[in-house]
């Protein structure tokens, strides 16, 4: 492991977003839920606007709308008012109270206020939980995984926290990382199901943010994991966590209900897909369906077709930690030289990797991108890539200048093939221009 960071005092063209954004994203994957940001109203307005722009879908989020005097006197009065309002008006199944830098710095004890509210209202069939997500730590990924962890705890609390009465051998849990798109989650569920397994996904943005046509406006989420399915996770035979950031939530289930977990750092690339299919074959005791034989061969053939354009190519990759690692893995299979890997914050998984990783911003990407062929980052990187003369491929969040980013698939043989071709086309076009 080698982690570097630039020495400048200021972040220039940040790659990082606030942790609460990750929390809001996670809660979009719960059915009839409402994330409530405890802070001033701008934080929720920005989160809503950013996620709406990326997913091109309505986003559920509310705020305790603190103003200066509220912070000084009693910020939690606002919180209670907000909870009260949301509860009595919309009766959500899930409310996640998410702190912001402001409430963290003000040092308000919102967690106990949330607990008190829960007690007083005797909320039984719904879930109210809180999570501390100051902006001055972490980024999107950590905000998302911490929220899933707290959500998991709350689910375990609701389900009694006891070991389940029965275990279903053919039922598994899936905990997808924050970077997986709605299309990715759908694809992973599909792959698992094709082995005759039933899968409960938490959170599941594939049924809330992939593009539904439900009419009748609701401020709550319109899809995602229903609460009772979440409670049934305790009966599963194992948990599949995708992305190192999902290891901690997976461990909660192990501790509480003895459910073993299996961690996959990512599912992009041949090796990662092979490992996943192999694993599913083992736990399901079913042979891999024949379509994976085809898909694997198709992928390999695509890789052969594309390798002309990839060979000798170099790239700068600036993404959230798990996403960056997973992307680096498949790019390496295609023989791409990784000029610089950049990520907004440090995580335990990064401490363990053997790669050289920069904790930094898009300006650090730009600095290293001179003469590089590819630049992969969220849409904010487009201008820097153009200045550096690198071909730009949007990935991560936000992607707002391309359609379908939120449903594109990068996992499994098929998803890898999609990306091998997509990035290959960019390299091919560059070659056409004499680049």
């Amino acid at each position: 492991m080698l982690i570097k960071s630039a020495t400048k005092p200021v972040s220039v063209n940040p790659l990082k977003v606030g942790q609460p954004l990750g929390g809001v994203l996670a809660l979009q994957g719960m059915y009839r839920s409402m994330p409530l940001l405890h802070g001033a109203q701008g934080c929720s307005a920005f989160s809503k606007a950013l996620l709406t722009r990326h997913f091109r879908e309505p986003i559920a989020v509310q705020t305790s709308a603190l103003q200066e005097m509220d912070v000084i006197f009693d910020a939690d009065r606002n919180l209670e008012e907000a909870l009260d309002h949301i509860w009595s008006k919309h009766h959500p199944d899930v409310i996640g109270v998410i702190s912001t830098a402001l409430t963290e710095v003000a040092g308000v004890d919102f967690q106990s206020r949330v607990k008190a509210f829960k007690r007083e209202r005797a909320l039984k069939d719904s879930l109210l939980f809180s999570v501390s997500l100051p902006d001055f730590h972490g980024s999107l990924e950590t905000g998302y995984s911490s929220t899933v962890e707290s959500l998991m705890d709350a689910v375990l609390g609701l389900a009694g926290g006891k070991s389940p009465k029965k275990q279903r051998r053919t039922q598994v849990n899936l905990l997808p990382a924050s970077y997986l798109t709605a299309g990715d989650v759908m694809e992973i569920k599909d792959i698992i199901a094709s082995f005759g397994l039933e899968v409960i996904t938490l959170p599941d943005i594939s049924t809330s943010l992939s593009g539904h046509l439900l009419t009748g406006f609701s401020p709550l989420t319109r899809g995602g994991t229903p609460l009772d399915s979440a409670c049934q996770m305790l009966e599963s035979s194992c948990t599949i966590a995708i992305g190192a950031s999902m290891e901690r939530p997976a461990r909660r289930l192990t501790h509480a209900a003895g459910i073993p977990y299996h961690l996959f750092a990512g599912l992009s690339g041949l090796a990662a897909s092979d490992a996943f299919i192999h694993f599913l074959q083992k736990i399901s005791r079913e042979p891999a369906p024949v379509r994976f034989r085809w898909q694997r061969e198709n992928l390999l053939d695509s890789m052969l077709d594309a390798h002309f354009y990839y060979s000798g190519a170099s790239a700068v990759v600036a993404l959230e930690p798990d996403h960056m690692l997973s992307t680096a893995a498949w790019l390496e299979e295609m023989g791409v030289e990784l000029k610089r890997l950049i990520t907004p914050c440090s995580t335990p998984a990064l401490q363990k990797t053997e790669r050289e990783v920069w904790i930094g911003d898009l300006d650090d990407a730009e600095e290293s991108a001179q003469g590089v062929d590819l630049w992969i980052s969220n849409s904010h990187g487009r201008k820097g890539a153009a200045r550096a003369g690198a071909s730009f491929v949007p990935a991560g969040l936000p992607v707002y200048d391309e359609l379908g980013a939120h449903t594109s698939v990068s996992v499994g043989y098929r998803g890898t093939m999609e990306w091998v071709n997509k990035v290959g086309n960019v390299l091919l076009a560059e070659r056409g221009r004499g680049g």
């Binding site: 005092p9 200021v10 990082k16 954004l21 109203q41 879908e57 710095v105 730590h137």
Partner: protein, 453 residues
């Protein structure tokens, strides 16, 4: 609209009071929408394209918001850079003034901007950092204006932030530089952000009539240029209640008359150009504007003809918030569209009365409630489309209601004569798009299952 003059002599501009900062109603926890004051300040100042904009606080304020507006620059791109001190826990515990000092120095030495704007945010306001002191010290040390923008999110709404940004312009910038030359036909545009390049359309029209823009406040603006705004003959406040105060202050201090106007719709455009010309006091310019307006209106009405036919009698719900409502209503009415519902959530009493002048009691006023209320109005008034900001776009699409984006995030220019034509085309193409019919139908196999049941 109120005349800006009486007795042929300039006495008062429209309204001689600074719009009072009506204590904004407290947002309802659990049912609030809209951005914070930091957002409003940022929207107003970031279009100053050659300046650096540094956000002092933890990551969320800048990280979640940069590059989200459609303000275009014809040259420098520095304001499109996102700069933030990105405070970590240690910075907050031990204080971040030193970091701010270093950040400013770094930006100035690397990018050599004409100025740096430093934005306070909730956290740095709460911890009581002496941001003004830091800015002052660094201005002196570096010889570059370092301008504090004290508009942290928790002081209030986006509009308040815009107003505070107006104060910053007035106190720190306007009057700080001198133009190389002036003419007697110099106008400032205030509150025009050059969304999708709208200002360039307007500028072309002004040039054709022999007028020029002295300072762009702030769309496609330059720092030095804003500094010499006090040398203009007149100010036009373009669709911005929140920056009206700036025009009033400039009138008091520099005697520059102002008027409020809009460039949405041919009528408003001609009116605004005439008003400008009048304030230059040059008969020749006035005559040129008259000719220009007559010619453009004539051309436009010919070109609009086919679109008007298709739009006639169509019903729209408009939800833009604030001042833009009344000016967009005029534009829509010129196209033959009936406005059957209008959002007044961010409008002042004066805005509402202007809306009423235009649509009377025929329409539903939507004071609050956002998406849900918009939909209700669409249903009850049988509207054909929703014209609103991006925030409500997907809500409308889910209900399969044709939607046209009118706010800051859009990519189409609707200002001026040509802008009205673009708007007409956009509306027609949107309404006639085949997708509405396709989404309205079930799949054939779904229908069959229904029968089987």
């Amino acid at each position: 609209m109120e005349p800006a003059v009486s007795n042929g002599r300039l006495e008062v501009s429209c309204g001689n009071k600074i719009p009072k900062s009506t204590p904004c109603p407290r947002p309802v926890p659990g049912e609030a929408s809209g951005g914070c004051s930091f957002d409003g300040a940022q929207i107003t100042l970031i279009p100053i394209a050659d300046a650096a904009h540094l956000v002092h606080g933890p990551i969320a304020c800048l990280g979640n918001s940069w590059e989200s507006r459609g303000s275009l620059s014809s040259g420098p791109e520095l304001s499109a850079y996102g700069f933030t001190t990105d405070l970590g826990e240690q910075d907050i515990i031990f204080g971040s003034e030193q970091k701010l000092h270093e950040s400013i120095r770094y930006i100035v030495s690397r990018f050599a901007p004409p100025a740096v704007f430093v934005y306070t945010t909730c956290v740095t306001a709460l911890t009581g950092e002496d941001i003004e002191g830091v800015c002052k010290a660094e201005s002196e040390r570096l010889g570059t204006p370092i301008i504090p923008v004290n508009s942290p999110g928790f002081v209030g709404s986006k509009n308040l932030g815009t107003r505070l940004a107006g104060d910053v312009l007035f106190q720190h910038i306007i009057g700080s530089t001198e133009p190389e030359q002036t003419t007697s036909h110099d106008i400032n545009l205030i509150g025009e952000y050059n969304i999708a390049g709208e200002m360039w359309h307007i500028e072309r029209l002004m040039q054709q009539a022999g007028m020029s823009i002295l300072s762009r406040i702030t769309g496609d603006g330059r720092f030095r240029e804003v500094g010499w705004a006090h040398r203009a003959k007149a100010n036009m406040v373009v669709c911005s209640r929140a920056l009206l105060g700036l025009a009033v202050q400039m009138e008091r201090k520099y005697g520059i008359p102002y008027f409020e106007g809009s460039f949405y719709g041919a009528k408003e455009t001609s009116y605004s150009l005439r008003q400008m010309a009048y304030l230059t006091g040059d008969r020749d310019v006035e005559r040129r504007v008259d000719k220009l307006a007559a010619r453009e209106e004539m051309r436009l009405s010919l070109e609009l003809e086919p679109y008007r036919k298709q739009l006639k009698g169509k019903r729209a719900v408009l939800y833009t918030g604030g001042v833009k409502s009344w000016s967009v209503i005029t534009a829509l009415q010129e196209l033959g569209i009936k406005v059957v519902g209008v959002g007044t959530n961010k409008s002042t009493a004066e805005d509402v009365s202007r809306i009423a002048d235009r649509i009377g009691d025929d329409a539903e006023y939507i004071p609050e409630g956002g998406a849900r209320q918009i939909l209700k109005t669409v249903r009850s008034r049988k509207a054909d489309m929703v014209i609103a900001g991006g925030r409500n776009m997907y809500m409308a699409l889910k209900e399969q209601i044709p939607f046209v984006d009118i706010n800051q995030e859009r990519h189409k220019a609707y200002a001026g004569y040509d802008g009205l034509l673009s708007l007409a085309k956009q509306l027609v193409h949107t309404l006639q798009h085949p997708v509405w019919e396709l989404t309205a139908k079930l799949a054939p196999w779904e229908e069959e299952t229904e029968f089987a049941d």
